[in-house]
Amino acid sequence: MAAPAASRPAHRDEHRLLRIALIAVAGAFLVLFLFFPLVAVFVKAFEKGAAAYVAAIVDPIARSAIELTLLVAFVVVPVNVVFGIAAAWAIAKFDFPGRGLLITVIDAPFAVSPVVSGMVFVLVFGAHGLIGPWLIAHDIKVVFAVPGIILATLFVTSPFVARELIPLMETQGNEEEEAALTLGSSGWKTFFLISLPKMRWGLLYGVVLCNARAMGEFGAVSVVSGHIQGLTNTIPLHVEILYNEYQFSAAFAVASLLSLLALVTLFLKAAITRRSRPRGGGW
């Protein structure tokens, strides 16, 4: 950590004017690119008054979008938590051939454009896809339906928990677990009573990030959704439709829900970081 400004020796201080200039430049940049967009969402959302705001949110189509988004997050986050813990357990606690490759594969969804992330599922499950004809024969809908949205969201959010837990488990080591096992504790008991509490902050951090992305994902979901109002529209897709129909206030009203989610995410993230300072890869 840097020493507090007051106790810093004079020669390590920039000229006062330079310091003020740097703070001003940084401030202006952040106001222009971060603060204004955030404020704009809420200002535009309430442009037509509180009644219009509430109407946009309790609208049945908006409500079904909210329900679908909650459902997707409700499925996706637990699945990726289990995957993240299993992946981190294998990678951080054991050495095996192909470990580096596995880490790269786990990271891969971060490097893939959201649009491509969605389209690969169309290529597998779509009508002309790998197993599309079989799915049609058995009357199973994946793409342009809820399962496709869940798959695409699973894909884009799969690295979050694993990426947070791998460095954490590596730095924490195994002494406590080994002690418990030596004293006769079973494997699962050791996991639930020792390992899980040890990783709880990192896990929570990963869950918060995973959830934010699961609820907010746009590009990948947009490809596989089919945009059927009331059926396969998540909140971000509903925002897009409202916006493209020039219902700007309604679009921003629904968008303000996602902005609130983002603010809660940032708050939790900062709170968890203060508690434990995980030094993972971040996002």
Binding site: A2, M119, G216, E240
Partner: protein, 276 residues
């Protein structure tokens, strides 16, 4: 610890089985399908899809705007990181937390918010419009969106390096007679460069693939303001799966090259940090 006594812990087999099965089904098979589909196109069809004038102009636009956004972030992100690490000011914790907003805010929300700000009658866009500069619905708008999206990458990679920088080195430079600016340029900056490069590469890679925040602000005119992910999307909507697949494969290869480059850079800068 050697791998032998690591095996004291149980659970390797179920953990690795679950992990490999999951990434195979969810990540490897879908991505492999993309490669397979492109291969089935045949070289001539593949080449003509990948090198059509519209595709070439989309690549160029994606690369130029992503480079511009990452460059803006390299400059201003470094300044933000410096100010956050070295100076005290009221509200610092809130500002620090707010830097992650582009990670937390869904891209569609960012897209419509930036569009409303930078369009001709928006708060910021109107100031520029008065001087005849259009931002929204031009490539400049894309740069604005990609600057927003890439902002946290540079700040969050440079910030920890600045925190770990040993002040003694700066003291030594000062004692040896270096002016403060010279110390910053010749002592602090070189220490930060690897992290800065990593942050730049991450912001660039993210900008290349970004879709949600860009489509609202870009104007989306073919050959002018149509980014590559949007072109893929349009081809999908027209059921031109062959064309979409070919372009997506090119894009996937670029993305993975970037990922490997970033990992190499990160390893290099980590090694440098350990050396000190």
């Amino acid at each position: 610890m050697t791998s032998a006594d690591r095996r004291v812990l149980p659970g390797f087999r179920p953990a690795i089985t679950l992990t490999v099965a999951y990434v195979s089904l969810l990540i490897c098979i879908p991505l492999a399908t993309l490669v397979l589909k492109s291969a089935s196109l045949g070289p001539a069809a593949f080449w003509s899809a990948v090198t059509s004038p519209r595709a070439l102009s989309a690549y160029r636009l994606s690369i130029v705007t992503a480079l511009a956004g990452a460059s803006i972030n390299a400059v201003f992100g470094s300044i933000v990181a410096w100010v956050l690490v070295r100076y005290e000011f009221p509200g610092k914790r809130i500002v620090d937390a707010l830097v992650d907003l582009p990670f937390a805010l869904p891209t569609a929300v960012a897209g419509i918010a930036l569009t409303s700000l930078y369009s001709e009658n928006g708060w910021i866009g109107s100031l520029f419009a008065a001087h005849g500069v259009k931002i929204a619905y031009t490539p400049l708008g894309i740069v604005v969106a990609l600057t927003f999206i890439g902002l946290p990458f540079v700040v969050r990679t440079v910030q920890p390096v600045l925190e770990d920088l040993e002040p003694e080195i700066e003291d030594a430079a000062a004692v040896l007679g270096a002016a403060r600016m010279a110390t910053l340029a010749r002592v602090v900056l070189p220490g930060v460069v690897p992290a800065l490069a990593t942050g730049f590469a991450l912001a660039f890679a993210r900008g290349l693939g970004e879709y949600g925040s860009v489509v609202f602000i870009a104007g989306n005119m073919p050959m002018v303001s149509e980014i590559t992910p949007l072109l893929i999307m349009i081809k999908l909507e027209q059921y031109d799966y062959a064309g979409a697949t070919a372009i997506a494969l090119v894009f996937l290869i670029v993305s993975f090259t970037m990922l490997l480059a970033v990992n190499a850079l990160a390893r290099k800068s980590a090694a440098r940090l350990r050396m000190r």
